[in-house]
């Protein structure tokens, strides 16, 4: 099975990769979108003083 990787994909904010599998006839058999990035804001803002949250979460996305 032939495999085509588009890595990285660039028309998005963040990290992504697309893997395309082709069958014997060269037709698309299956396509996967993968998001390889995680930082974990959900965890490390826990317990932070509430007034500090607006100083941390803008760093989720700066685009």
């Amino acid at each position: 099975m032939k495999r085509i990787e588009i890595d990285p994909i660039t028309r998005l904010e963040g990290h992504g990769k697309i893997t395309i599998f082709l069958n014997e006839q060269g037709e698309v058999d299956n396509v996967y979108l993968q998001i390889p990035e995680l930082r974990g804001f959900e965890k490390f803002v826990e317990g932070l003083p509430v007034e500090e949250i607006p100083r941390v979460v803008p760093r989720i996305c700066g685009v």
Binding site: T10, E13, E37, L38, R39, E42, K43, E51, G62, V63
Partner: protein
């Protein structure tokens, strides 16, 4: 001859890339000075093109973002091999930045919270991302999510650092002109920033620091003319490198240290702790303890951007 640049983001928000674009019309000068070979935020190049380059082909690469997973590390090492000069761009690559706060937890803590426990997630089977997955003939891989967030120079040799979250656009531009004009300072230098503490540039009036307690923002309406620290608000100005243009302080918001420590300070958070200790208006141990107890969340306040680069580095695992 035109230079050759690579620009990349690891565990980042893209704010450093946008800060490059925020040089506005100067972006045309940047385009004149260098051809870009990688810049996922703004242009469409693939990793395999970079892998195919000769070693040291690029004159300089600018890496923003922390090292959070094996892909960040792999691309950092790849760009190191392909670049004559490696520049850490922004607080995350420089000192770990906000993503470095995850070093208070383990890998499992983070993955469980995000994929299994978060209120907005439905994940009945409790699946978390796996490094390898297969179904029949389909095989996929994901990067390894590390236990510890690292700064760029904990992974590869870094020649220069452009600090800030985000760096001031004109500071990035001036750092790029140093590359263009062959005017780079000794290796290991911070470029595109000042060499003094932010306090020395702060327009607020400073008198004697006699702290009787640390206040939270809802407990005080700060005098707009006076030093924020003297008014009881923790401000990292005394230990933070200048160069930001005092953006936060001018807006009435105390510094959280995104420009990193001044020269010769190893640990920004501990330096601030030391500065606080010498500013307390108390002599007796119990009075000192009472003031210290008013510091809300000292770790994430004093090491807000620098935990990954600090002596603490991470929670013991």
């Amino acid at each position: 001859m035109k230079l050759k640049f690579g620009i990349y983001w690891g565990a980042a928000c893209g704010g450093c890339d946008v800060a490059i674009l925020d040089t506005h019309e100067k972006i045309l000068e940047i385009a004149d000075m260098a051809d870009i070979f990688l810049w996922p935020l703004a242009m469409d190049f693939k990793y395999k093109k970079i892998r195919a380059l000769e070693d040291n082909y690029l004159d300089a690469s600018f890496f923003s973002g922390a090292i959070r997973n094996s892909e960040n590390e792999e691309i950092a090492r790849l760009l190191r091999r392909k670049s004559k000069v490696m520049v850490a761009l922004g607080a995350c690559a420089h000192i770990g930045g906000i993503p470095g706060l995850a070093n208070m937890y383990t890998r499992e803590d983070v993955l469980n919270r995000v994929y299994r426990e978060s209120e907005s997630t439905i994940n009945e089977e409790g699946i978390i991302p796996r490094e390898a997955w297969s179904e029949g003939e389909y095989e996929l891989e994901l990067p390894r999510f590390y236990n510890t967030v690292k700064t760029l120079d904990q992974i590869i040799n870094v020649e220069y650092y452009i600090p800030g979250c985000p760096p001031v656009p004109l500071q990035i531009y001036s750092a790029l002109t140093l590359v263009r004009d062959g005017m780079l300072p000794p290796k290991g230098s911070v470029i595109g920033a000042g060499d003094r503490a932010l306090c020395e540039q702060c327009p607020r009036v400073k008198e004697e620091k006699k702290l009787t307690g640390i206040k939270r923002v809802h407990e005080v309406i700060p005098d707009p003319e006076k030093c924020l620290l003297e008014q009881g608000l923790i401000c990292l100005g005394p230990v933070t490198r200048s160069g930001c243009g005092s953006r936060c302080i001018k807006s009435g918001v105390p510094c959280r240290g995104c420009y990193g420590p001044v020269d010769d300070v190893k640990d920004q958070g501990f330096a601030m702790l030391s500065a606080l200790a010498s500013s307390l208006d108390a002599k007796e141990q119990k009075d000192i303890d009472a003031i210290i107890d008013t510091i809300e969340d000292p770790l994430r306040t004093l090491h807000r951007f620098s935990l990954a680069a600090s002596m603490l580095r991470r929670k013991k695992v």
